[in-house]
């Protein structure tokens, strides 16, 4: 392959980095140059997508399968630790770079419309480009340390963008919370890396996975659990999911790109990448699948009773990430990645659609100088009259996430549940995970339909005066929505299972990466009859959720947020998110603050370091000085006596 574009892979991350540098320079040099910023910010992403597509096509044309590693320079060379800065093209990273640059480019286009009025426009695009750069390093890195650079980098950009409107303390706090919670996970990632190096002596993916069955046998469960701790932080799983709902403080396109479509899937990617390690440890696999299933169900219950449209979507994201972990924990790595891709499509669409709604609501309230909450669904209702395009596209995404055939979410979700059920034959606990996933699917269909009904249907609650100012977003924003809508609808075609006559293309494409792990797992095949039954159950569950929402929700009983009564009973527990934030605050945050203040600050720092160390030495010096000062009597005779005595001592010492 002389004409292959694969060696150009370095351009894919380099382009967004260049965009970041140029936009960052423009931020200081010409803050008003919004056209230039838009052209660069969006242009580098479109170019990166084109290069990525060419590289992937070149790679696929060459047969695909074997990973191609491109080493650029030696990064860390310390004795036996040799880490090169190297990028790796293999089936898994191909899928990821297409999702990141493709969905990323659409969201960049949408951002041009959404953020154009913002004074921090250049800063926004600089951060967004930087984020894409780090995300691409994360998925392209050929070793754990290179991946870790991307892993930390996306965390940084997430922090910067959550706190983008840092003028309000709540936003800055949300950014800080995300950063701190993620650090707990990063700690796990680091420990896992140390363990791997200690036992294998290398950190390159290919070397580690080749050596793992022999070298890591004893510690593989620990390695996997520490890696998974990293995943729970980055991918918002129990117990570290609490930062993601707060991350909605950032601009809505950021929520779509970082906190739904790409960054939060890094943990899923990591587990799929390390499938050999996780497959070696049944305990770790079970933990991953169990935590995933529990998170899927738990977050879905919270989403039932949220009023902020973005909060619903945030908990929905946590829940769907749980599905992905259920998939990769089960050993259905391709299914997990498949759901990752389809979720990127429909969740980006949902977030951008909600952005379109918020944009319209914000403008309506802005025009009438009203101070209502533009994100509260109780202030919406009946928006389909003013936002027809958004309404249709959001319905497509809702049906996709609910798992209605033949939309994309149906195939990916069904595959994960099917795989969990099949694994149940070998290990019974997976039947429980399957049931939890199914229950979460029911809730998903319900809360998404609830969101749609409250937002777009029923009577309007925005206000007489305000509703006149509601407008559909410009094409710059609806255009990306249409593209994502098409993807969300037909994305399932990537991997139509064999049972319904498909070729399972994604699964076969990823097989070179996942086969090593899959070979270590118990084979779980279900008969076609069972598979059809499972499909039927999944469809019934989705239908039940949607119909249930239509039947149970009374749209006419809703009142605007200002006059809404407080929830009571169980609804209140759900609305307050099971009080998890309060529990964490009481159990962890306050003790840590108390420890820091009372013991570390006032005890160790002020008491020991300042008191005994700094001031103690000063007091000792002063005491000695006081003793010396007693000698200055003003009597010269006394001085001479001391002088002679001193001479005698010195002479004695010298003449000895």
């Amino acid at each position: 392959m002389t004409a292959s574009a694969v060696p150009l892979i370095w351009l894919v991350p380099a382009l967004p980095l260049a965009g970041f540098v140029v936009n960052g320079a423009l931020l200081f040099a010409a803050p008003g140059a919004k056209r230039a910023v838009s052209a660069i910010g969006v242009g580098v992403l479109l170019l990166a997508f084109a290069v990525a597509l060419a590289a992937v096509l070149g790679y696929a044309g060459a047969g695909g399968g074997a990973p191609e590693v491109f080493t650029y320079w030696s990064w860390m060379a310390v004795d036996k630790l040799q880490v090169a800065f190297a990028l790796q093209v293999d089936p898994l990273s191909c899928v990821m770079i297409l999702v990141v640059t493709g969905v990323g480019a659409l969201i960049h286009v949408f951002s041009v419309g959404y953020m154009y009025e913002d004074p921090g426009y250049a800063r926004y695009f600089a951060y967004l480009n930087l984020f894409v750069f780090f995300m691409l390093i994360l998925v392209l890195g050929a070793s754990f340390p290179v991946m870790f650079v991307g892993w930390e980098g996306v965390g940084l950009c997430s922090y910067l963008l959550i706190g983008f409107w840092f003028g309000e303390k709540a936003n800055a706090d949300a950014g800080k919370k995300a950063f701190v919670v993620n650090r707990i996970g990063d700690f796990g990632f680091l420990i896992a890396m140390f363990l791997i190096y200690q036992n294998v002596g290398s950190l390159d993916f290919n070397a580690v996975f080749a050596a793992a069955p022999a070298a890591l046998a004893g510690v593989v469960t620990a390695v996997c659990l520490f890696l998974f701790l990293g995943c729970t932080g980055k991918s918002a799983q129990i117990p570290l999911y609490t930062w993601l709902p707060d991350a909605m403080a950032g601009p809505t396109p950021v929520s779509a790109l970082i906190h739904a479509a790409t960054m939060v899937t890094a943990g899923v990617y990591l587990v799929a990448r390390c499938n050999v390690l996780f497959a070696m440890s049944p305990v770790a696999s079970s933990v991953v699948a169990g935590v995933g299933a529990l998170t899927a169900l738990f977050a879905a219950t919270i989403a039932l009773q949220q009023w902020d449209i973005k909060k619903v979507l945030a908990y929905s994201t946590v829940s769907q990430l749980g599905y992905m972990f259920l998939g990769v924990g089960t050993g259905a790595y391709a299914a997990g990645i498949f759901h990752l891709a389809t979720h990127a499509f429909f969740k980006a669409l949902l977030f951008l659609g909600s952005g379109s709604v918020i944009h319209a609501m914000h403008h309506a309230y802005h025009a009438t100088h009203s101070h209502e909450d533009a994100q509260d669904m109780r202030n919406m209702g009946g928006l389909k009259r003013w936002l027809p395009v958004t309404t249709v596209l959001m319905w497509v995404a809702t049906l996709a996430i609910a798992g209605v055939p033949p939309l994309s979410g149906f195939f990916s979700k069904d595959e994960i549940l099917g795989a969990a059920f099949a694994r149940g034959q070998a290990q019974g606990i997976w039947y429980l995970y399957w049931a939890m996933g199914l229950a979460a699917a029911l809730l998903t269909a319900f809360y998404m339909t609830r969101l749609m009904l409250y937002t777009f249907h029923g009577p309007n609650r925005t206000g007489e005066k305000e509703s006149g100012h509601l407008r559909e977003a410009p094409w710059m924003m609806t255009g990306p929505l249409v593209v994502l809508g098409v993807l969300a609808a037909v994305g399932g075609a990537l991997n139509v299972p064999a049972i319904v006559g498909g070729g399972a293309r994604l699964e076969r494409w990823l097989a070179p990466v996942t086969s090593a792990g899959a070979a270590l797992l118990p084979a779980g095949e279900v008969s076609p009859g069972t598979e059809w039954t499972l499909l039927g159950v999944a469809v019934l569950i989705a239908a039940a959720g949607i119909v249930g929402a239509f039947r149970l929700l009374d749209l006419n009983a809703l009142v605007p947020a200002r006059s809404a009564p407080a929830e009571t009973g169980f609804a209140r527990v759900l609305a307050r998110k099971w009080y998890v934030d309060e529990i964490y605050d009481a159990a962890i945050v306050r003790p840590v603050v108390w420890l820091s203040r009372r013991v570390l600050w006032q005890g160790v720092d002020q008491g020991a370091v300042d008191g005994a160390g700094v001031n103690g030495l000063a007091r000792a010096a002063r005491a000695l000085g006081w003793l010396g000062s007693r000698l200055q009597t003003g009597e010269v005779g006394f001085y001479v006596v001391l002088f002679v005595a001193g001479v005698v001592v010195v002479l004695r010492a010298a003449l000895r």
């Binding site: 000062s629 007693r630 000698l631 009597t633 003003g634 010269v636 005779g637 001479v640």
Partner: protein, 98 residues
């Protein structure tokens, strides 16, 4: 041939210097007495150099150089003290004692 009288004068000069340092209170006088002791030693060096070789004379130059430097620094200190305290009486100069 002048050795005995030279050493005698030197001893007398040194004794005067020691006595002056011990009994006087004025810093400048004490200072001059210190110089007196130095010069008494110089005289001894020169006198003995007649018999013991030229090294004693060379040493005198060193002593004079050091004494000149010491005089410059010492007088400067005394002037500085006088500007601050309007006195050069050593009994009054015990501010370290507080």
């Amino acid at each position: 041939m002048f050795l005995t009288p030279a050493l005698a004068i030197s001893a007398v000069l040194f004794a005067i210097g020691v006595a002056g340092v011990l009994v006087r209170r004025n810093a400048i006088v004490i200072f001059m007495c210190v110089e007196l002791m130095l010069n008494a030693v110089n005289l001894t060096f020169v006198a003995l150099a007649q018999q013991l070789g030229v090294a004693g004379q060379v040493f005198v130059f060193f002593v004079m150089a050091v004494a000149a430097a010491e005089a410059a620094v010492g007088l400067a200190i005394i002037i500085a003290i006088y500007r601050h305290r309007e006195t050069v009486d050593l009994r009054d100069i015990n501010i370290l004692k507080g």
